[in-house]
Amino acid sequence: MQLSLNEDQTQVLDFIDSLAKPYATVPMHDVSLALESAELDEALVENGFLDVMAVEELGPVMAALVIEKLARLPFAVEAAASAMVRPLIDPELPRPLCLMEEGKARKPLRFLRPGATVVVVGPSGVKSFITTEDMIAPAQEDTLYGYPVAFLTSQPDSMTSHDVDVAEITRAWRVAMAAEAAGLLGAALASTVTYVSERKQFGRPLATFQGMRHRLAEDQVMTNTAYWMAMRAAGTGSQADAAMALHHAQEAAKRVCYDYHQFLGGMGMTLEHPLHLWTYRLKLLTAELGGRGAQGLAAAEALWG
């Protein structure tokens, strides 16, 4: 057991920090519901940050740390599937990667666009295909989710089958989502803490009111444990740990998003403040892989048969 970051991990995270610095704040007057940067994505790819899992001395915990770190940015990056799942299927699959549960094409897919790889995971195995424009319908323009999302309207008759274990891919998918949610939780909490520490009502900062302090403290407990559970699930490779990590992150998301919008009041409803970029991403992640109920059933199966 060694829970401190090792030298390699610290170094990689420091590199990401400096590379992502121009993307750490929301550009002035940007009122987008979602926010992306092709330049940031390109820089991450060029520097190999999405391929750390395959590097022997770095591995899956490093991948989870990278995902968590990038999820803190106001800019959405397709890192989770690429860094944690793609290496297990085929490291050469074109990005972005869109993970989809078999038979669930009705749900919006994050980062779906022409040229993206859709990976279909389900009872009949793990298959993939590259999307073309005619397979995609845009989501409504002012969709709230903070990610670029679109709908898959058709799937090709022929897909590439991958000789990989569905359970193992699902496990990695859960860990990837848990790590991404952990980063979003951390960023949303930090952003809220800053706001309520500065915003004054009744002559004093909002954060001095105990009704708010206790809820924020409970949110810190959920956020802290979501981080550690995601990291542990990445490290142990256990099915139970993965399912519990995502369950806990989805549970945390459900709770904190409500709190933070309440605490920011009107500011949390306007696009002047970036809160929605983290909270509405979190909200979409609560629907991932069947949501808390499905994670609960998966954890119960892994723990008790």
Partner: protein, 381 residues
């Protein structure tokens, strides 16, 4: 960052498990229903801790200069986990090795170390904490039990309440007021419980026999040398002790073991087939594991030689959430467990329900997290 135990740590855990297997009686689970502070378990612990000492696993985490083996914080954690999963056969003596011994070593006089450390290492002493008072619970700094220095003796008058183990303890780690300067006016005195003027009354409770007491001090007189630390130093010392104490009981492990036991009972009864019960059980398991990870993050701080700060409050609150969830799960799905069907689950329940109350209430932990982890501006006072 890596999450596996080393071979040595695994071997240490197995050594403890083997010891427990060999040394706990066959009827231990039923016996442990007496409660950790009961006369029966206290007497059992006096023999059991001697065996632990002989096997070198009473205080192996203490530094070599204190007679320990200098094993690290992870080994202390493993030891505590295995003892709690087993229902804490050390009874109240767990406190001795967790925080009383190390606190004596850090702040005690040579005379105090000589007097009190040896019985701890021989498994022969039982302490109680004289902290809470009828009007000083969460607001501990408002305590009023007064100690006045007269002719080289402290004369103590006042009342303590919710004092665990007081009925059978040899010594009280007593917080007294020596001046009116709130936190800076509190002083620790180590009081032998057989000193004239002490009256102990047991308060019947939900959490087992002999656990909770009120203790009255009427002109209790002890020499000045019984003072622990300087006058007014109590708040600092207690802060040090409680940060250890909050982690000292790895409640999440017992909660997790109790959950496993509950699931096995439900499966045996054919009542673990529905989705709802499975999802609820998994939610409880996730909360237990969440508490575990938060606790481990604090243990790592110890390993790294960092101060155990308010992160221990965060870990503690995560533990409270887990305990509450498991206690509620058992009652919802296995109400018979607390009515005779499972001594183990009843034992867990009795220990679990105090998680949010003991060693600083859950709400106090939230205050600490708000101020010291999130660094929110403080409430006006």
């Amino acid at each position: 960052m890596q999450f596996e135990w080393t071979e040595e740590q695994d071997a240490f855990r197995h050594k403890i498990r083997d010891f427990l297997h060999a040394n706990l009686p066959d009827d231990w689970e039923t016996f442990s229903e007496h409660g950790p502070a009961s006369p029966a378990l206290t007497a059992f612990a006096r023999e059991f801790c001697v065996k632990l000492a002989d096997a070198g696993i009473l205080f192996p985490h203490w530094p070599v200069e204190m007679g320990g083996e200098g094993l690290g914080p992870w080994e202390q954690q493993i030891l505590a986990e295995e003892m709690w999963i087993a229902g804490e056969p050390r009874g109240g003596q767990y406190m001795n090795v967790n925080w009383i011994g190390p606190t004596l070593e850090k702040y005690g006089t040579d005379e105090q170390k000589k007097r009190y450390l040896e019985p701890i290492t021989k498994g022969q002493s039982l302490w109680c904490q004289g902290f809470s008072e009828p009007d000083a619970g969460s607001d501990l700094a408002s305590l009023r039990t007064r100690a006045e220095l007269k002719d080289g003796n402290y004369v103590i008058n006042g009342q303590k309440i919710w004092t665990s183990y007081a009925g059978l303890a040899d010594t009280c780690f007593l917080l007294t007021r020596t001046s009116d300067d709130r936190k800076r006016g509190i002083t620790i005195i180590l009081v032998p419980m057989d000193t004239p003027g002490i009256t102990v009354r047991q308060i019947p409770s939900l959490i087992g026999e002999g656990d909770i007491h009120e203790v009255f001090f009427d002109d209790v007189t002890v020499p000045e040398s019984a003072r622990f630390g300087d006058e007014g130093q109590a708040w600092e010392i207690v802060g040090y002790s409680l940060r250890n104490e909050r982690l000292g009981i790895p409640r999440f492990t017992l909660a997790r073991a109790a959950l496993d036991r509950a699931v096995q009972m439900l499966k045996a009864a054919g009542d673990f087939d529905g989705d709802y019960v499975k999802i609820e059980a998994a939610r409880c398991a996730a909360l237990c594991e969440a508490a575990g990870t938060a606790n481990y993050a604090v243990v790592q701080r110890r390993v790294d030689g960092l101060a155990i700060g308010a992160e221990s409050s965060s870990a503690r609150y995560a533990t409270v959430m887990a305990e509450r969830a498991v206690c509620e799960f058992v009652i919802e799905f296995l109400p018979e467990a607390l009515a005779g069907a499972s001594p183990y689950l009843k034992m867990h329940h009795q220990r679990g329900i105090v998680a949010g109350v003991a060693a600083g209430s859950a709400e106090i932990q939230l205050n600490i997290i708000a101020s010291e982890v999130l660094e929110l501006p403080r409430e006006p006072r």
